[in-house]
Symmetry: C2
Subunit: 190 residues, 2 copies
């Protein structure tokens, strides 16, 4: 795909607008027309650049993620998890949680969105987590055959999505730090 | 509320119709007119009996739940969890998972639904889990100050909702049994 005509700043602006719209109207309500309108670009540019709405949304979400989780390497698994938490502020987490709730529903009805999210967001992020876990296994902190190694995304997703639903409280760093220490690390035998 | 005019069979039928509609059109798409139409009842009856759409939906969901989780008492926490899993079949779980994904989104935009679900579904179910956990604490299986005691719903919700999203596979009994053994019990120190 030819991306040469968009500066990184312009691309960022577009992704921010997509995420704002996603929070305001949800995936089904988001139209390429609305993105074009809000960003003062043409629909032709959007389609040339991103191909489709699911791809645009998945790339916007990926853009939103702090890069290079796998580069965090504090020397202990607990240190790595807590360093990850340090990198996101509470306000951002609350926004992410709302987006994830909306998307968990939307992917159910939009297989194309599901595919784009898996390919562009879920799988790359899982690879980064796998890298952090692999180092813990190499250090001997976690047993290589611990079945919880494959369940980390499920545990974290539960923390993110369930707290607002069950406790009626937003997800924040303090809660996730407790969850990591009380659920994630014990399941991994750390 | 006067419930005298509905037999338990008729009430069941109504709840089933509400859940079918919920799966077909989602919470926002579900109207009291559609419920009345499908069940050949009058809207006046529905409102007299349930007061509002959020209350009707919450009661239909509660009706759908296997009763008396707290009565399961096998003598060990692991036994209790696995006995709970035995009580639901895979097909039912897949349906529940789809409903939960839809509702996680809907409650975000419908505080009245959130309130009804918390009061009629989430809190009663959490009380039942608390009872099962309390017995494990009394038996000395789980330490009374284990922080994971308060995080069980989050762990389970993650397993239910994340598997289709992350692995593109439905939730089934075999997966939940692995999750209970690999995540839930270790976090509780069992």
């Amino acid at each position: 795909m030819a991306r040469s005509r968009l500066t990184p700043e312009r691309e960022s602006e577009l992704y921010e607008a997509v995420l704002d719209l996603l929070r305001e109207v949800g995936y089904d309500g988001l139209t390429m027309d609305a993105v074009a309108g809000r960003t003062h670009s043409s629909k032709a540019t959007l389609y040339r650049q991103w191909g489709s709405k699911p791809e645009l949304v998945a790339k916007a979400l990926r853009h939103n993620k702090p890069a290079g989780l796998a580069e965090i390497d504090t020397g202990s698994l607990r240190g790595d998890f807590h360093a990850m938490l340090e990198r996101t502020d509470d306000c951002q987490m609350e926004k992410d949680s709302a987006l994830m709730r909306g998307l968990a529903h939307a992917v159910h009805e939009n297989p194309e969105l599901h595919r784009a999210l898996r390919e562009l967001l879920i799988e790359p992020e899982m690879s980064e987590f796998d890298e952090v876990l692999r180092r813990a296994v190499d250090r001997g902190e976690v047993s290589a055959d611990n079945p919880a190694l494959k369940l980390l995304p499920h545990m974290l997703f539960g923390a993110f999505v369930a707290r607002p639903l069950i406790e009626d409280r937003p997800v924040d760093r303090a809660f996730l730090a407790v969850y990591v220490d009380a659920v994630v690390l014990p399941s991994l035998g750390v």
